[in-house]
């Protein structure tokens, strides 16, 4: 047998390990390069998709901002009590939407997504962001309002709605994140939180419920 034969086999076997090692590395290590496209112009077509950049416009945005004064098809117009929480400069006192269990359930879900981060799940202003800001000793941080305090209980629902829509003091507006219906749902849930935290008295209960409560107490 020619002498180099064994060495050649050995070297070849070792060389075969290189692609294997490279592939193994690629599979384990996080990479900075995106997936390779075999057919690039099929995978990445020259069309505008949501939030995609487009060099055709000066600001590079593929999605255009709506021209001023335009109204989206599902926008509600002509009902300021519903959309602004205010009619003729006076806060709306009664809910402009029917308050039922579905609204409260929706309100709770939305409250816990958008409000609880600062105001806390109970509405007392002890959310995680508040805790974080305090632990960072942020001088610019203003603690969120206690939503179950007397001051907020006294506010008309239109005022609470407006606070979500346009913000108040240090709280930014949430109109972009929370649509009209959900804002009212959240207001209804805030009212429920207030009632659950002592804003309600026994006299607010129906006669039937009062009997039930009395029975439970005995």
């Amino acid at each position: 047998m020619p002498k180099p034969f064994t060495s050649i086999v050995l070297v070849l076997t070792l060389l075969m390990m290189i692609p294997l090692a490279l592939l193994a590395k690629q599979r384990v290590i996080k990479g900075r390069s995106p997936r390779a496209s075999l057919v690039w112009d099929m995978d990445n077509q020259d069309k505008v998709k949501t939030q995609k950049a487009n060099a055709m416009f000066a600001d590079g945005r593929g999605m255009r901002l709506p021209p001023e004064g335009t109204v989206a098809r599902d926008d509600v117009v002509g009902n300021p009590g519903l959309t602004e929480g205010m009619v003729d400069g006076v806060w709306v006192e009664a809910f402009p939407v029917p308050v039922d269990e579905a609204l409260l359930t929706r309100g709770r879900e939305r409250f816990e997504i958008y409000c609880a981060v600062c105001h806390g799940y109970s509405g007392e202003g002890d959310g995680m962001i508040n805790k974080r800001a305090n632990s960072l000793m942020e001088g610019t941080w203003v603690p969120p309002t206690n939503l179950v305090s007397d001051a907020v209980v006294a506010r008309p629902v239109g005022h609470l709605y407006n606070t979500i829509r346009r913000g108040i003091r240090n709280m930014p507006p949430y109109a972009a994140q929370i649509p009209v219906d959900d804002r009212w749902a959240i207001v209804s849930y805030v009212r429920a939180l207030q009632l659950s935290r002592g804003a309600a008295t026994v006299s607010d209960l129906s006669a039937e419920d009062r009997v039930a409560l009395g029975a439970a107490a005995e």
Binding site: Q26, R35, E112, I129, Q177
Partner: protein
């Protein structure tokens, strides 16, 4: 080159060739296996797609915001229940908090610039399906497919990377067997959710109750 008895050109294997018959046969048989195996690994989504972790313009930490602080996915990704795209938040959403928290942080310089100029931050897209695939987030999230099923434990990622292959076979795997992934709709954004009972049992119940029959025909995604 030798000559045979009739004087024609002939080739005779040297004696030592007998000794290498087995290794050569093994190599000949192994080569296709090796090459096919390498090609399979090369094109496997686990190699090509999983683990894609581009550097983002702002070093935003999902681990801190979604994990430690427990901010719901939908606080920022507001489109996820309504439309095809989950949508990245506008800079305003960052400034909801960062107008008063960490106002001097170097890591937020780009965010403040974007807020002042009104020009968006150019985040690098990680989960990018080919443009001939029409995926809809709302169709999945509102039927009880959790964010986690496709995106992994985002709440544990300091820097987000792709957790799943997002290839067609992977999509079809779930469309053919949704029981393995269905969860209650109100737990869709929960990270690290575990079914109280057996996942298959719960999945079957949820599928029955919500009449979930994921289509597997071509035009569902390619249209």
């Amino acid at each position: 080159m030798d000559h045979d008895k009739q004087g024609r050109d002939s080739f005779e294997f040297p004696k030592w060739a007998n000794a290498i018959r087995l290794p050569v046969a093994l190599m000949a048989a192994g080569a296709p296996v090796y090459i096919l195996g390498m090609l399979y690994l090369l094109f496997d989504p686990g190699t090509t797609s999983v683990g894609y972790q581009p550097e983002q313009p702002v070093s935003y930490s999902h681990r801190l915001h979604a994990g430690e602080l427990g901010i719901d996915c939908r606080y920022c990704h507001t489109g996820v229940e309504k439309g095809a795209a989950a949508t990245l938040p506008p800079t305003q959403t960052c400034m909801n908090c960062h107008a008063t928290i960490k106002t001097e942080s170097d890591r937020l310089t780009l965010v403040r610039e974007s807020y002042q100029t009104g020009l968006p931050i150019e985040w690098v897209r990680i989960h990018d399906l080919p443009d001939f695939v029409y995926f809809n987030h709302s169709a999945h999230v509102t039927r009880g497919i959790g964010c986690e099923s496709c995106h992994g434990r985002i709440d544990q990622m300091e820097v987000v990377s792709q957790a799943e292959g997002l290839n067609m076979g992977w999509c079809l795997g779930c469309h053919r067997d949704p029981e393995a992934h269905l969860r209650p709709v109100d737990e869709a954004t929960t990270m690290g959710w575990t079914p109280g009972l057996d996942q298959r049992e719960l999945g079957a119940q949820l599928r029955e109750a919500r009449n979930i029959n994921p289509p597997t025909d071509c035009s569902t995604c390619h249209r």
